[in-house]
Amino acid sequence: MRGPDKNGHFGIYGGRYISETLMPAVIELEKAYKKWKVDKEFKEELKFYLQEYTGRPTPLYYAERLTKKLGGAKIYLKREDLCHTGAHKINNTIGQILLARRMGKKRIIAETGAGQHGVATATVAAMFGLECEVFMGSEDIERQKPNVFRMKLLGAKVTPVTSGSRTLKDAMNEALRDWVTNVYNTFYIIGTVAGPHPYPMLVRDFQSVIGKEARAQIQKQTGQLPDLLIACVGGGSNAIGLFHPFLNDDTVKMVGVEAGGHGLKGHFHAASISGGTPGVLHGNKTYLLQDRLGQIKETHSISAGLDYPGVGPEHAWLHDTGRVKYKAITDKEALAGFKTLTLTEGIIPALESSHAIAYAVKCAPKMKKSEIIIINLSGRGDKDLETVSKEFKFKL
C-alpha cells in the first residue's frame, strides 16, 4: 500500500482544502519537490547536512536496563533526541529549507507547538541567513519558555497567537493567514505530516530517514526485523518517519501513541484517531476532535507537541486499513514513562516521546524475551523540565 495518489489523497483522507490563493503555491511546491527530489546535487546536499550538521545517523540503542526492568521484549531506542536541536524535527526543516532556497523564497514561516519545530526552523533559517517568523500559541509560549528563548536567540521573530485555544491549532491558522498574505516571497515550513498536499508526503519523505536507518541498524545489530514499532503521534511526523520504511514488512507491527490527556472519556485529551471523527481542517481531510456540528474542539495534553485536534492524513488511512494501531496514553502514564526512562537509562525524554515509552512499559512485559521493540525517542526533555518539576512538586 502506497500513497498518496496524484491529488494527494490517502484513501479518503488528505487532499487540498485550502483557499484558492494558496493553490498555485502548493502546486508550485509540489512541482519543485518532484523535480529536486531526484536531483543528484539536491540529494547530496541533503545528505551532507543530515550527516555533518544534524549528526545522522542517530544511534539505535539497546536499552538493556529498561528491558530487564520490564522483563519482556528487548527494547531499542531510536535516538532522535540526539539530533542537533534535540528532536527529529530538524530532519524535515533541512529538507524544506533546501527546497525554499532553490525556489528563490527569501522568507520562512512556521507554526510550532512545543517549540521543537520552531527551533528546528529558526536553526536552519539562521544557518542559511533567511528571515524567519514562527507562530506560537500564547499558552504554549508560557509552558515552553526555553524554546521561545532559543528561537529568539537564533534570530527568529516569535509571534504569539492569542486566538482560540492559544495552542498549536491556532498557531497553524495564523501561519496560514500569514502565508496567504505573503505568498509570493514566503515559504511555509510545516512541521508535521499534515496540511495540504504535498506537505504530508514531503514531510514524511524527509522524516523517513529515521525508519530507513533503524531498519538497517536493527538488522545489523540483531540479524532480524523488529516485532513492534512504537512512536508518539500528535500530527504524526516522527511516527510516520519510523513506520513508513517498514510498511511492507508484514511481520512488523506498529503502534502510534496518542495523547490521552486526562482520559478519553472527557474532553481533556488530544487523541484524534482514538477519540475523533473524520473532517476537514488545515488543508486536509483526516480524523479531528470536533463536536457533532463540525466545530473544532479545544484539546488537552501535558505535552504541547501532541496538543493538536488533528492528525496526519496518512495516519488516518493507516488506521482505517488496520496496518497501524493507535492507542492513547494519559498524562499520568506519560509522566511515569518519563521517570522510568530517566532512572533506568539516564536519558531524559521529551514528554511527547514519554507517551511512546509509557506504551512500551505496558506492552513489553506481555511480549516474549526474543521479541524486539523499537521506540522512537523523538526528542529530549530539557524543554519540559518546568512542566515536569511542577508535576513532581520539585522546586527548580
Binding site: 487532499g15 484558492e20 490563493t21 493567514r177 473532517g279 476537514v280 463540525g294 466545530q295
Partner: protein
Amino acid sequence: MAKVEKSTNTKKPGRLTTLFNRLKSRKRHALIPFISAGDPDMATTKELIYTLEKSGADIIELGIPFSDPMADGPTIQASYERALKKGATPGGVLKLVRNVRRHSEIPIVLFGYYNPILAYGLERFAKNAHASGVDGVLVVDLPPEEAADLKAALNAVGIDLIFLLTPTSDSSRMDRVARVGSGFIYFVSLTGVTGARVKLSNKIPSYVTKARRHTGLPVGVGFGISTPAQAAEVCKTADGVVVGSAIINIIANTRGKKRVLSEVGKFVSKLKEGVDRA
C-alpha cells in the same frame, strides 16, 4: 416587502443569475454586504438583512460561523466567536434564511468553511438550503479539486456553488474555476485575509479584465473593501462589490439593536451611492 411564493425551481435561472442579468441591462452593479449569521444573535441578523436590503443591498452574503476561520482577519474571527458563543449552527443559519424568506426575496449566498457543512451532511445541507431559499454557497477552503461532491449535491437542487479567483490565479486556475463555478465569480482583491484596508490595490481593474477573458460569469470583488469611494472604484470594472468587515465593525462597536440597525443602514446607503456612481 411582499410575502414570497415558494421559490427556486431548478429549471429556471436562479435568483443570482436573474439579478446580474437585470443589473447588466440597466448598467448597474451589485452591492453585496457580508455579515456573520448569529452575531450578535440570530434575531438581530434577521433584522439586519432586512435593513441591508432596504439600504440598497442587492445580494446578502451570510457567514456560517466556524471555530477556525483560516481565511479571515481579526474582525470576522471575533464575529464568529461571538456568534458561536450565542449558539450559532449551520442548521440555525438555514432556519434564519427560511425566516427571512417570509418577507424578502433578496438573493442570499452562504459563505463558510467546509467542515461544518461536511458534518451537517452534504446532501442534507443542499436539500435544506434549497428548502430555506438559499441561492448560492461559497466555501473558502474548497477549491474545485475537492468540490465534486458538494457541487453535485447543490446542482441537484439548483443552488449555485461560487468559487474564488485571486491575484495568484494563473490562466490554468482561472479556466479550472470558470468550468465549475456558477452564479458569479468572487475575485479576492488582494493576497491576504478578510478585513478592512486603508488602500485599495490598483491592480483590481487588470484582475477583473483578466478574469473576464476566462469566464462569462459576473465578477464580484471582495476582501479589504471598506468605503463608498473604494466600492465605487471597484465597480468601474467589476459587476459587484463585497463589503464585510467594515459592516461587522459597526455591528461590534455600536450599542443597542436600534442603533446598530440605523448605523448599518446609513453606512450601506452610502456604499450604495458609491456603487451607483460607478
